[in-house]
Symmetry: C2
Subunit: 222 residues, 2 copies
Amino acid sequence: MATKAKSSSSSAGASKTRDRILDVSLVMFNERGEPNVTTNHIADELEISPGNLYYHFRNKDDIVEHLFARYETRIDQVLVVPDERLPNLEDIWMQLHLAFETMWDFRFIYRDLVDLTSRNRKLRMHFSRIIKRATANAAEVLKGLAAAEVLRASRDEIQATANNIILVATFWLSFNSVRGAMVEKGSEDLTEGIHQVMMLIAPFLRDAERLHLNNLASAYVR
Amino acid sequence: MATKAKSSSSSAGASKTRDRILDVSLVMFNERGEPNVTTNHIADELEISPGNLYYHFRNKDDIVEHLFARYETRIDQVLVVPDERLPNLEDIWMQLHLAFETMWDFRFIYRDLVDLTSRNRKLRMHFSRIIKRATANAAEVLKGLAAAEVLRASRDEIQATANNIILVATFWLSFNSVRGAMVEKGSEDLTEGIHQVMMLIAPFLRDAERLHLNNLASAYVR
DNA sequence: GTCTATATAGGGATAGAC
DNA sequence: GTCTATCCCTATATAGAC
């Protein structure tokens, strides 16, 4: 039954053609941008025929949608409000790290986000849902920090900041690319993005915590 | 000599084919997104032949570049640090308004920013320059507010905030579209974007000014 | 499941007549 | 300056043999 070791992504066994198509598509989309990768490119890279590719997927968007589904599963796991305990700054740092890494793994989605979501109703709905979830999550965490008296902010300030956190996180990679950042070093980009998000929170922190954060931060950024 | 009333954009006289191509392209790019508008579409809309269009422009990117040049001229006029006087909150509001309106008029650039700038070296260089200028401008204004003692922030905080201001402004329209905002009402979208940017500054304000801003803000947002 | 061959369509772009 | 006609190329997608 080794032939049934199918599904999932890139862990152990190579897997069937269908999965290989998804894996290679993801890599190529991330590297060159989805609009610049054709089904023929993908087939070439895999050394299979275009016809074969279309046996496994109805069309290119079908591939994109399946990759997006993978992404949605992973990001949903990150977007859980901690638990019973009130969150602290390290929790946030950690959660941001997980979120940014997940986004990085599927960065092709973020590179052409507007075009992708306006072309494809399904993607639009799902992405919109993720944004809503993420914003709610951010607001929850901020409220948690406020409850723990780590931070002081009004309801409106929390809502506006939650929006900005998600906006900055969503477009950090684009911003970095567009402002002429060098070839992405990957991990360094992400750390700087996390830093920028933390700086949205910093001004609301009480003095002691603010100092704490600045120490955390300066340890990370150059 | 009425035939020489050429150049510029959409003010008085209709103008020559070349300018009409630019005007119509801008409208169509803004409405449907640049990747979804072909040279044939543009020619159709203008009721001229594709050949004619290619007489006036070498290729599609040539059109995009000329539109971008128009944009750059306009945004550069907005990105001037006030003058001798120290800036106040209303100044900022006004400058943001001008910036957002200019961006709105050329929103196609922002819709597919990453793809556009990575495809075209010229656009990449120019856009990167604009971002640098804008960020420097934001930092200057923040320093001005600090000097006027309207605001209190460290050097690092000012730099991080300037980055976030430009990031939020740059991607506000994308964010709004992507999170599933309804059909753009234009002006309302912009006001909310301006509000989000102001909320980046708010936490650094002294109490009196913070209150002042909240009043300004609540007058604008629903 | 996979291949070869091919249909179809559209976009970018040019030549040459008017 | 403008049009008609056309070329080239690439992308998506399918049919049918193996």
